[in-house]
């Protein structure tokens, strides 16, 4: 267990949690975050999402939605997802508000906007530690099926990075190889702590 990983998506519910759960199961040191301003879950219609603050426990959301419309939220998979999440950690965390969580080696994001937010946040922080951090973005659509695929890909990628003595030397090849193998776009950047 050499590196510390962070999985980041918008609401810290679906994509990042899927990857978090998977990497955790594989014994990697992993945390997960969201970069949005709120946690948003689908509601009865597109215009009526369920909005929570970061830090609201998954359990609370689970109970609330189950009370509201168990049929609907079971059908769209939200309840199952929340159940999975509450077994992984307590509550969704916002990336920007958790700078105190310590130093990560690798951050995976699942959306360009999130990637930009993470990089911006890292660049706005003081960088006294002189420690490099690898930030990678893998575009994953925000639905359950894609999240499952995205999680597996993230795991594969992290394992590959873990297997390298110094990722800085090989990252270009790793990324290019990954893109070729999975026909998915991957972008990385380097920032500092």
């Amino acid at each position: 267990m050499r590196f510390r990983y962070a999985m980041v998506c918008s609401s810290n519910q679906n994509r990042s949690m899927e990857a978090h759960a998977l990497l955790k199961r594989q014994g990697l040191d992993v945390a997960s975050y969201g970069t949005g301003s709120h946690v948003k879950l689908p509601g009865p219609s597109v215009r009526e999402p369920n909005v929570y603050d970061f830090g609201t426990p998954y359990k609370q959301m689970f109970d609330e939605l189950r009370r509201k419309d168990p049929e609907l939220y079971k059908r769209n998979g939200i309840l199952q997802m929340l159940k999975r999440n509450l077994s992984v950690k307590l509550a969704p965390q916002r990336w920007q508000d958790n700078a105190g969580d310590g130093v990560f080696d690798v951050v995976m994001t699942f959306e360009e906007k999130v990637f930009d937010s993470v990089l911006e946040d890292l660049n706005n922080r003081e960088q006294p530690l002189m420690k490099t951090i690898l930030v990678m973005n893998l575009e994953v659509k925000d639905n359950h099926e894609e999240a499952a695929i995205g999680g597996r890909l993230a795991l594969e990628l992290c394992q590959e990075i873990e297997g390298n003595e110094a990722w800085e030397d090989t990252i270009d090849d790793i990324v290019a190889g990954f893109e070729k193998q999975h026909r998915r776009k991957l972008v990385y950047s380097i920032s500092f702590y």
Partner: protein, 1326 residues
């Protein structure tokens, strides 16, 4: 007691260290080290220090983890006792070059911490105590070594991870030693986290030399920039790290912002070819950096917003940028409001300043505007020149001010200094370096060579701000010490002299004066013929296209101004000369310059007198002075004979100098036309070098003095010369030294008029070396030269025009043939060429709209189309003159029969062009015309002709505004349109698609256009309608929630568009619940104009019960299929509200419709009922039961009630018991009194026997009797039933008598139960 304890601790530590060194087990080693650390931290610093040397030995350990822990100990312990950390710091130095990357990285990061804290401590100590301890000095020398080691790590090959950290250290270094204008706070006021900054050393420091540190920081900055320039050879991770470091520097030190920005914007390496470099990520890192700039609210960033936005548009990331901008603007507004009061004065200044910057950059402008700028700049220039000698004094007196404010001690006295702009900051930095004397000069050179041209120009302008408004008296102006300073500063600003790559782009004016020489004989000084008016020189794009790092600043900053002065007729023009000559002489020999400079300044003052001819002649004299005695001048200027690169380079130096001298001369020619060639002849010593240059010209081009060449021969020689120049160019690589070659090639091409064959020679050179060897520059030089020749009023100008055209086309084709489609050279060439002839546009047209390349070969590569359209787009943006023609090409492609081309063109037109206000109208008109063409197609042939004419008119409206040269293209168009018009009478669906696609694409951008679609829908032919139906769903879905315009159309649909309207509504409601607005609009429409209830069908699912019930009757009246649909919508409801009506309610609602009153005939209602019964899964047994149960209680009973009951029992025989209950209720309601229902009742009863027997028996006697009469078949079975003992007992006598049971008929009745049961089965089966 303390001493023995300490001794024990020491002994313990030593033994632990020995274990750490020698023990075989790694775990033991590490734990021993941990214990050592504890001991060291607990001991007195001086005692710990005794152990340090032993600790330091561990760096030789073979265990990586031991070395790593050692560094960690050093970090923890050493920082606490800096004064004793000498031994530890040396370890860091060694380990920073460790072979293991982890150790090396750790050492660098800890070393950096040491570096910063030592620096800070030293500055603090001096600040507080006025002196610095000696050990600091020693420690610092080690830190300097550490810095050198890390820097070399960054530059040498090695592990990327370590290099990345080394780069980060460089960034820190730059930040430390570049003054930070945004944070002038005094350090002692801040917390301990405050980072050191060079401004702390403003008052001087015994150990640290601020000037040399600053210049080293600048050098380091240069190193980082060099990294970017060589990105093609670096691993991607390294490039990304450099970009990120540069971005940090730019954001934190605004001095460097413009430089970084221009470097990042110009960063387009061909990374795909580099192995081990992930191009997308590198590009993205640039994007991230630019996005970071966009988020900054400091003035330089805000000023460059347009540039940034353009860059984002080019990256297709405009929306991201816009989003960020919105956030930032909000932030800025808030800040501004807060800071408005104390800022107002400052802001005005800044805005003025910014304006002048902008204006000076935008040099292509209407004449009127131009004049004002000239006036403004000239006025400033004037002041600057007359007071030049004062400027340094002001500067030097300025710099202490800057320091003072940075010190913060007396900052209250200089409130404005606390917010220095980057430029002011730079000025103060230059001032500080100048104050350093010789030592500073070297740094200043480096600094200035790295500056962005705009920045440099700004520095000059800004420094003028401090000049006094009235000119000083002449006597005081001479030979003040300040003069010397300024000349040296100018000298270094003008770039280091002895190097061959110096210049302020001298070739252009030089070349121009060459070409002007013959015309001097005419002694006519037509200002139009001044080749320096060459538009290229005023072209702002040039500053982007030129990447020559050091040379251009001067060219940009200085040259244009004198040019503008030529145009204006201010009396004191000659004053511009000192600047130019200062530059010129500065480039020749720095030491002499200072002297000559003084003279020049002196003479400049005297020139104010009316007769300047005398002094004109003194100038060349002075300038020539330093170069006298240089033998190279006598060498005949013929590059053809120059075979050796070295010699040529030497020669270049002298040539350049001659050019520079010439630069100044035409200025005077303009002013006093008589002072031309004859004058030079009268003063041979003064003009020796000029005549040399002239000779060289003759020899080069056409008029050989010794041998008479035929035209053919001269052409051949010329060609050979070109080949040679190009060949030599390959050997002498480097960015700058080929400018003279470029100029020569341009003239040679013009001279030998060789069009294609020379272009072929060049082509290879240009396209192969397009980037690195400035092929693009070369082509543009040639083109501009040819263009200026063509514009001259000579007989040959037309032939030059041909040469120009041939050359341009040949180069363009060569790009298309040789370079990949993704290459930008082609569009760049067209974008920057001085003029685009028709043939160029034709080439572009071919490229875009045909699948054959010019030679006729089939290209299956649609990339070329993209390339062509890309070029069209950029031309529309940057070339107003060609805009119409290019737009015509784009529009033509947007109705191209090839779907691929069409799609691309449509994307271009709608996404990029349509939002340009100056062409959106044309685009819209064109799209409308095409749509109408499609719609009007199905008319008879006579009309077709009419349409075709109309079309042509509309078309030529678009092109007519363009100039006459475009008529060719417009002809092509109208022909094509005629063709189209003839074809459309048999319009196929694909043809209809072709014509209407653009319009629908535009609708996405401007939904109000949709109205036209609605208007023409009614009269459109079938195929067109089909095409409409294909487009509408996509369009409506993309419009999504923004259908405000759509609502307007819906609220007032044109006649004939009902079907379309219904379709639109269907789509709108398909995926999302319709908005309240939409529902209201449609309902209103239904109530007022359009009585057709079918438009409400798509909305039914969102309507409430109360809304649905009133429209139920008209719904019933619809054709069956539509009613089915409506029914489905009603029952489906929205996910949110649930269905408007439950199935039972629907059934009841159907029954509630009274045929006479509401319109729908009875037939429709029965059909509706049947339709319900068909959906057995929806209208289930329970539903029916519920509906029937509710209806039976109604008074009056619905007309169709009995019918439905019968149908129900038919459909669900198991309902029989329930139905019997209903029937029984009906009996109690005296159903026989309702003539319309009674027959139904009877039918039902008869059908459901024997279950209905109990009900029958409930009937009063008369009714029973009539039934018996009516259905005689019933009697036997009913009698049998009634005859059962249990039942019979309960029956009244009257009933029994009706049934004839008053006497016994037992035998019969006993036979029947079995029959009865069988009939039940029979009923059940039906």
């Amino acid at each position: 007691m303390a001493a023995p304890a300490a001794a024990t601790a020491r002994a313990q530590a030593l033994s632990l260290l020995a274990a750490a060194n020698n023990h075989g087990d790694l775990a033991v080693k590490l734990s021993s080290l941990r214990q050592v650390k504890e001991i060291l931290l607990s001991l007195e610093p001086s005692l710990s220090a005794e152990i340090f040397p032993y600790l330091a030995e561990l760096h030789l350990s073979h265990e990586i983890l031991v070395r790593k822990s050692l560094i960690e100990i050093i970090e923890e312990v050493g920082l606490r006792m800096l004064d004793h950390s000498y031994a530890l710091v040396t370890v860091l130095l060694v380990l920073s070059r460790d072979e293991d990357p982890i150790v090396a990285k750790k050492a660098i990061s800890v070393g950096t911490t040491f570096y910063c804290s030592i620096l800070k401590e030293m500055a603090m100590q001096f600040h507080h105590r006025g002196k610095v301890d000696r050990w600091f000095g020693e420690l610092w020398t080690w830190m300097v070594k550490f810095k050198d080691a890390v820097f070399s790590t960054a530059l040498e090959p090695g592990c990327v991870g370590v290099k990345v950290l080394a780069l980060k250290f460089m960034e820190t270094f730059i930040l430390l030693f570049t003054p930070d204008a945004s944070d002038p706070e005094i350090f002692s006021n801040k917390g301990s986290r405050q980072m050191f900054n060079i401004s702390w050393l403003a008052g001087g420091h015994p150990v640290l030399n601020s000037a040399s540190l600053m210049s080293e920081a600048n050098r380091t900055f240069g190193i980082l920039l060099d990294f970017i320039k060589s990105a093609g050879r670096l691993p991607g991770a390294l490039t990304i790290a450099v970009v990120s470091c540069l971005a940090v520097v730019a954001r934190k030190r605004h001095v460097h912002y413009n430089t970084v920005l221009s470097v990042l914007l110009d960063f387009h390496p061909n990374l795909e070819t580099v192995k081990g470099c992930h191009a997308a990520s590198v590009q993205y890192s640039i994007r991230t950096a630019l996005l970071g700039f966009l988020r900054c609210t400091s003035s330089p960033m805000i000023e460059s917003r347009d540039k940034l936005l353009r860059a984002f548009r080019a990256m297709n990331a405009a929306d991201v940028a816009d989003q960020v901008l919105r956030q930032v603007d909000k932030l800025v507004r808030n800040n501004e409001r807060a800071a408005r009061e104390n800022w107002s004065g400052k802001t005005n200044q800044a805005i003025n300043h910014q304006n002048s910057w902008d204006l000076s950059k935008k040099r292509i402008m209407p004449q009127g505007e131009d004049d004002t700028i000239n006036g403004e700049v000239v006025a400033k220039r004037l002041r600057h020149n007359t007071n030049m000698h004062l400027a340094p004094q002001v500067q030097t007196s300025d710099s202490p001010q800057g320091h003072v404010s940075i010190n913060g001690i007396s900052s209250a006295n200089h409130p404005t200094d606390s917010e220095l702009t980057p430029v002011e900051q730079m000025v103060s930095m230059i001032g500080a370096l100048l104050a350093e004397g010789n030592r500073g000069a070297a740094s200043l050179e480096i600094l200035i060579s790295k500056l962005h041209p705009d920045m440099l120009a700004d520095i000059v302008i800004t420094s003028m701000k401090h000049l006094p408004s009235s000119p000083p008296t002449l006597t005081t102006s001479l030979a003040t010490p300040g003069d010397i300073v300024v000349s040296s500063s100018i000298n270094s600003m003008c770039s280091p002299a002895p190097q061959p790559q110096l210049h302020f782009d001298p070739t252009l004016p030089a070349g121009s004066s060459f070409s002007d020489v013959p015309s001097f004989n005419n002694a006519t000084a037509d200002p139009r013929r001044d080749p320096r008016r060459d538009p290229r020189r005023m072209d702002p794009r040039r500053s982007n296209s030129s990447v020559g790092p050091t040379s251009l600043p001067v060219g940009e900053g200085k040259e244009p101004v004198p040019v503008q002065m030529d145009i204006s007729t201010l009396p004191s023009k000659p004053l511009s000369v000192p600047v130019v000559t200062a530059g010129a002489s500065g480039s020749v020999h720095p030491t002499i310059v200072e002297r000559s400079q003084n003279k020049v300044v002196g003479s400049s003052v005297i020139w104010d007198q009316p007769d300047c001819r005398e002094h004109l002649l003194t100038i060349p004299d002075e300038c020539a002075y330093p170069s006298k005695g240089r033998p190279s001048l006598d060498v005949p200027v013929s590059p053809c004979r120059d075979d050796e690169g070295i010699r040529e380079t030497k020669f270049l130096g002298s040539e350049t100098k001659c050019d520079l001298d010439l630069v100044s001369i035409p200025d005077f020619d303009q002013h006093s036309p008589s002072a031309s060639v004859p004058d030079f002849d009268l003063h041979p010593p003064a003009t020796s070098n000029i005549t040399a240059a002239e000779e060289s010209y003759r020899e080069l081009a056409a008029v050989p003095s010794y041998i008479e060449l035929t035209t053919e021969q001269s052409k051949t020689v010329g060609k050979l010369a070109i080949e040679r120049i190009i060949e030599s160019n390959r050997h002498v690589c480097g960015f700058d030294c080929n400018n003279i070659r470029v100029a020569l090639i341009a003239r040679l091409i013009a001279k030998i008029d060789a069009g294609n064959d020379v272009a072929n020679i060049l082509r290879e050179h240009i396209s192969v070396d397009h980037r690195e060897f400035k092929g693009h520059e070369l082509v543009l030089h040639v083109l501009y030269h040819l263009h200026s020749m063509a514009n001259l009023d000579t007989d040959e100008s037309s032939s030059y025009a041909t040469v120009y055209e041939n050359f341009l086309i040949a180069v363009a084709r060569s790009f298309l043939d040789a370079l990949p489609a993704s290459d930008k050279s082609f569009s760049r060439l067209f974008g920057e060429a001085p003029h685009l002839p028709d043939s160029a546009l034709k080439l572009l047209d071919e490229l875009c709209s045909t699948r054959h390349d010019p030679i006729g070969r089939e290209i299956c590569d649609s990339e070329r189309v993209t390339q062509g359209l890309g070029a069209v787009w950029s031309l529309i943006l940057v070339r107003p003159n060609e805009r119409k023609a290019c737009l015509a090409i784009a529009l033509k492609c947007s109705v191209h029969s090839e779907e691929d081309i069409r799609a691309k063109a449509i994307r271009l037109v709608t996404n990029k062009l349509y939002h340009l206000t100056y062409i959106s109208e044309h685009v819209e008109q064109f799209a409308t015309d095409m749509l109408l063409t499609a719609v009007n197609s199905e008319t008879d042939l006579a009309q077709t002709g009419f349409i075709a004419e109309g079309k042509t008119e509309a078309k030529s409206q678009i092109t007519s505004t363009s100039d006459s040269p475009r008529s060719g293209t417009s002809d092509i168009h109208s022909q094509q349109d005629l063709q189209t018009a003839r074809d459309v009478s048999v319009l196929s669906i694909s043809e209809a698609q072709r014509l209407i696609s653009l319009f629908f694409a535009l609708c996405k951008k401007k939904p109000s256009l949709l109205r036209l679609v609605f208007e023409v829908y009614g009269r459109a032919p079938k195929t067109v309608i089909q095409a409409f139906h294909r487009h509408i769903p996509i369009l409506i879905r993309e419009l999504g929630s923004s259908y405000v315009e759509l609502l307007q159309i819906i609220s007032d649909p044109p006649k004939g568009s009902e079907n379309l309207l219904t379709l639109v509504l269907q789509i709108l409601t398909q995926e999302l619940a319709p908005s309240l607005d939409l529902i209201a609009t449609v309902k209103h429409l239904y109530e007022t104009k359009l009585k057709d209830v079918s438009i409400l069908i798509p909305l039914l699912s969102s309507l409430t019960k109360d809304e649905v019930l009133p429209i139920f009757p008209p719904l019933l009246n619809l054709p069956p299929d539509k009613f089915q649909l409506a029914l489905a919508h009603i029952l489906q409801g929205s996910a949110h509200t649930g269905p408007a009506l439950t199935p039972a309610e629907v059934l009841i609602a159907i029954h509630d419709v009274v045929p006479e009153k509401d319109g729908p005939p009875l037939k429709k209602i029965t059909d509706a009922c049947s339709a319900c019964f068909e959906q057995r899964t929806v209208f289930t047994q329970q539903v029916l039961a519920k509906a029937l149960g509710q209806m039976v209680d109604r008074t009056p009973l619905p007309l169709l009630f009995m019918r439905t009951v019968i149908q129900a029992i038919d459909a669900f025989p198991t309902l029989v018991d329930f139905v019997m209950e209903i029937l029984s209720k009906l009996v109690s309601k005296q159903i026989w009194r309702l003539p319309k229902l009674w027959p139904g009742f009877l039918k039902c009863v008869s059908q459901t026997q024997p279950h209905s027997f109990p009900v029958l028996l409930e009937l009063p006697m008369p009714q029973l009797e009539s039934i018996m009469k009516k259905f005689p078949d019933l009697r036997p079975s009913l009698t049998a039933y009634a005859n059962q003992p249990t039942i019979r007992a309960s029956l009244p006598n009257s009933v029994l008598s009706v049934l004839g049971l008053d006497n016994g008929q037992d035998s019969r009745s006993q036979m029947h139960p079995s029959e009865a049961t069988s009939s039940i089965h029979g009923a059940a089966l039906t």
